[in-house]
Symmetry: C2
Subunit: 245 residues, 2 copies
Amino acid sequence: MQRYKSIISYDGSGFSGYQVQPKKRTVQSELEAVLAKMHKGEPIKVSASGRTDAGVHAKGQVIHFDSDLPISEDKWEIALNSLLPEDIAVLSVIKVDSSFHARFDAKGKEYHYVLQLSNKRDPFQRHFAYQYSYELNVEAMKEASLSLIGTHDFTSFCSARTDVEDRIRTIEKIDFLQEGEFLTLRFVGNGFLYNMVRILTGTLLEVGNGKRMPVEMAEILAKKDRRFAGKTAPAQGLYLWKVFY
Amino acid sequence: MQRYKSIISYDGSGFSGYQVQPKKRTVQSELEAVLAKMHKGEPIKVSASGRTDAGVHAKGQVIHFDSDLPISEDKWEIALNSLLPEDIAVLSVIKVDSSFHARFDAKGKEYHYVLQLSNKRDPFQRHFAYQYSYELNVEAMKEASLSLIGTHDFTSFCSARTDVEDRIRTIEKIDFLQEGEFLTLRFVGNGFLYNMVRILTGTLLEVGNGKRMPVEMAEILAKKDRRFAGKTAPAQGLYLWKVFY
C-alpha cells in the first residue's frame, strides 16, 4: 500500500462543500467515486487538510489517500483529471510516507477573500468574488487587522455551531492587495476555526464602511462571544489558497 | 411609445446562445420574459446588435426595445437587474429616437478571444477561456494577422451554414494582448460573419503552433472556401466586447 499526497483545486460553486453528505454533490464524494472506479469498486477514503463550505473555492487544497495500484505520480495526475468533473483539478500527486496525514500534519494555511469593489453588476464574478458597492476605508481595515495578528482566543470570530474546544489560533499576517476593482484579503495562520476567515472579513468590512472603529477589534476578541463580531461574509469570495506542512 | 437602448453583459455558459429557441434557455427569452412581466404579460420584442452562440459571452451587447411605461433611465436599469437572472447584467439604459435600431445602426464591433496558455487544468477558467497547452509563436500569429486587416471577402472564415450573401467585411485591427498566462486576441471591424472570429482564431492558432505559415492567410482568403481555413476555436473563449454606433 502506498500513500499519496495530492494538491487539488476546485470551483466551489457547484458543490455542497468539500465533505461527503448524503445525496449532495461534494468534492470528497466526487474524488472517492473516481478512486473507487479506478479500484474496481473498492472504496478508497480521501482525507483532506480540512473542510470547505458550500460555494467556497480551493486553489491549493491538500488530500491524501492510499492505493496499491502500480501507477507513477505523473500518471496518477493524468488519470484522476481524465475521470474527475471539470470543476475539480488535480494539480499534483506525489508519493509520501504512510505516516503523512493531510489534516494532522498541516502546519498552517493561507486563505484569500476576494472583494469586488463596484456598483455595477458583473455576471462573470458572481461566483468568484463578493461584490461590495459601498465606500471602504482600507487604511482603517489595515489598522483593525493589526489587533488580530498573533496568538489569540478567536471564539468571537468562530461560528457558534463549532464543536472545537480549543479556539486559540495564531494569525501570522493579514495582507491587503488591491488590483483594479478587486481587493483581496490574504490571511496566513497556523489554523482557522469554522467560518473564521469569513467572520473576520465581515467584521473588517464593518470597520471599512465606518460602522465600527479599528480599536473595536481588540474588544471583540476579548469578549470571546460570536455575537460581538460582524456578519459572516458570503462564501463565494473565499479561497483556500495553500496548506503548509 | 419610447425606444430604449441598453448595454448588457452576460456569462454565456448557461445559455443556448442569445436568440430565442423553443424550449431552450436563451438571453433573449430571459430579457423578453422580464419585460413581459413588467408590462402585465404584454409581449415586448427585444432586438440585439446580433446573435451570440451557446457559450459565447458578452461584455457589451447592445439591445433595443419599446415601452410606454413611465420609468426613468436609471430606474429601468435597477428594475431590469432586480428581475433578471444573475448571469445577465444590464449596464445602462438610455432613451433613444424611435429610428434607432441595435442591429441595423451598428457601425462596427469589437470581439475578444481569450486563450489561457497553460498545461495545468484550471477549474476557474473552464467557461471563460480556451486553454491551450502547446507552444505558440505569437510573432508568427501577429505576422499572419496582418493579411487579414482591411477589406476582404471572408467566405473562407465563415461558417458554411451561413445564409448571408455578402461576405465582404473590413477588419480594422487585430491586437494581441499578453497578460500572465492569458493571451487575448482583440478584433475590431465593421462586422463579422457567422463564426468568423472563432475561425480566424482557430486558423491563427494553427500558424502559432507551426502547422501553417503566416503567408498562408492570404492564400486562404483568396480561396473563398471554408474548407481551407483552420478549426473553429471553442465558444467559451469568445466575448462580444463592444458595439460601435
